[in-house]
Symmetry: C2
Subunit: 307 residues, 2 copies
């Protein structure tokens, strides 16, 4: 299984105020990711606002990505939904539209038990022939996969990867080693949480599920390749250039920041879905500084077709 | 404002496996609440599975309730949604269908700021002429209303009530007194969390937003009236009869338990929306004991039209 490994770039999904996908803007964002050579696109993740979009709009986003990527970059699609039948339908939609893999967030309103999430994963994995990545992100789904549940699900044919949050105690190497002993060889263990990605990759994580790579794929890929080659100094240097951005991510939530960043990059002016509100001009000013710092380290491609 | 005061009964919403409302079963449940004389119905609350139902199905539930209640019992409708435009549309649907009030849960995927929730409430309250109750339940929405935000929103015309969670420190009287000093006279301060309702009402809470009253309205009303009359001994006696049920609520989540309870009462066999799974026979057996205990204390009306 090579899908899910390396740098998976999670773009925002540009929409209008009513939640309709802006196809041209999404294509611009995706074109940059493909041109940079990211290992995959993680469409309709948390950053891609999947939870705020209807099933037809999610399908439109997948179709746009399949057209735009044209096989250049593998496409992973988030199919999380509050209802099992909806998640299964979204998985089928993604497969029909041409996706390469699925990402399943056990999103919840009423808290879910381990048994319920086990059954949910089985139902969704049986709905298509696509490989599936478990989305372990208690911050948004309010469900924490225990190591035992991950190990059990890793035995299910089709369950190929897990997207882990940053370890609370910072012991990346220890956590990865413990998980590796519990899952079959080849099962992908990757991480989200951009500010911990360098530590995760240097500790042997298989993947960086990256928010920033959705908009700044080149420096994110440079960081990934350096860490994969155990060039710790270079990786940490790039990470340091990103540090002011990680600080904004933690202060305002990366979801709000990427909308401001897309605007700053000239990719188009889009607002997060209300009730979330756009960030103010003081954040834009700080983003300009961030981009200067990253550009000084590693020039990146300016937006194509900037508006 | 008398709406929202006293006993507000929150029924489950019976649906088929695809999430279509079972109109006859919902009418049976609502008929019992109206016959018992509850002060209001809280349709499509968390117990009513609002988060798992589509807008057309939510409208169907409201229309069913308006037909069934026929003005006998005021109808409050939950209009929470992840998107502001959806919450506004649901509020308009509820008003058009004949609801008397709204309950707004600031349900979130990405965490919301106080400013975002303030704006959300304003947008929804402006969408209709109905009075609105704020739904403060961090356990399901992941947003906590600060006392300052409640006070600010209580000044907004149309914002008439707040549904509070049980105070973490158990100091009902202190919390109610602090809030009362911050809100206009007549603003309703009520509580959810059935196992704390007796303490809340005896401490002067204006309302019990009650899960159990959705299925056992008579003993819940008896408890409410006793507490409202400061007959603490009688209220605590009824509460003690409910205690094994509160224990099940806390062990399995009240949401799962009400489906088993509806079945035990002969109101129909319905399952919670998947991925949530129905409880097993061992819980049914414990529910039989609970019902015996409550029946011994205070006979309640058997299900009409039981299947």
């Amino acid at each position: 299984m090579t899908l899910f490994r390396g740098l998976s770039a999670f773009p925002l999904t540009p929409t209008d105020a009513a939640g309709h996908v802006e196809v041209d803007a999404l294509s611009r964002v995706l074109g940059r990711i493909a041109a940079a050579g990211a290992d995959s696109v993680g469409l309709l993740g948390s950053t891609g606002a999947y939870a705020y979009l209807t099933r037809p709009e999610r399908r439109r986003a997948v179709e746009t990505a399949v057209d735009c990527l044209a096989g250049r970059t593998p496409l992973v699609v988030g199919v999380g939904a509050l209802r099992t039948d909806e998640a299964m339908a979204l998985a089928r939609d993604a497969e029909e539209a041409g996706a390469d893999g699925l990402l399943l967030a056990p999103v919840s309103y009423q808290s879910l038990t381990e048994g319920e999430v086990y059954r949910l994963v089985l139902d969704v994995v049986e709905a298509t022939s696509l490989p599936l990545c478990l989305y372990n992100n208690p911050g948004t789904t309010r469900f924490t996969f225990s190591p035992a549940l991950i190990a059990e699900l890793a035995q299910v044919p089709g369950v190929a990867a897990v997207k882990m949050p940053l370890p609370a105690d910072g012991d990346f190497a220890g956590e990865i080693a413990r998980l590796r002993r519990m899952v079959p060889p080849g099962f992908v263990i990757g991480h989200s949480g951009d500010w911990g990605a360098t530590d995760a990759l240097l500790a042997g994580s298989d993947a960086w599920f990256s928010v920033v790579a959705g908009l700044l794929p080149e420096p994110a890929l440079q960081l990934t390749r350096a860490a994969q080659a155990s060039e710790a100094e270079e990786a940490r240097q790039i990470d340091a250039a990103f540090a002011p951005l990680w600080s904004l991510f933690r202060q305002f939530g990366s979801f709000r920041v990427v909308y401001a960043l897309a605007d700053t990059l000239g990719l188009g002016t889009f607002a997060p879905p209300r009730p979330l509100l756009p960030l103010g001009p003081e954040v834009r000013a700080r983003l300009d500084e961030v981009l200067d710092r990253i550009a000084a380290l590693s020039p990146f491609t300016p937006a194509e077709g900037a508006s």
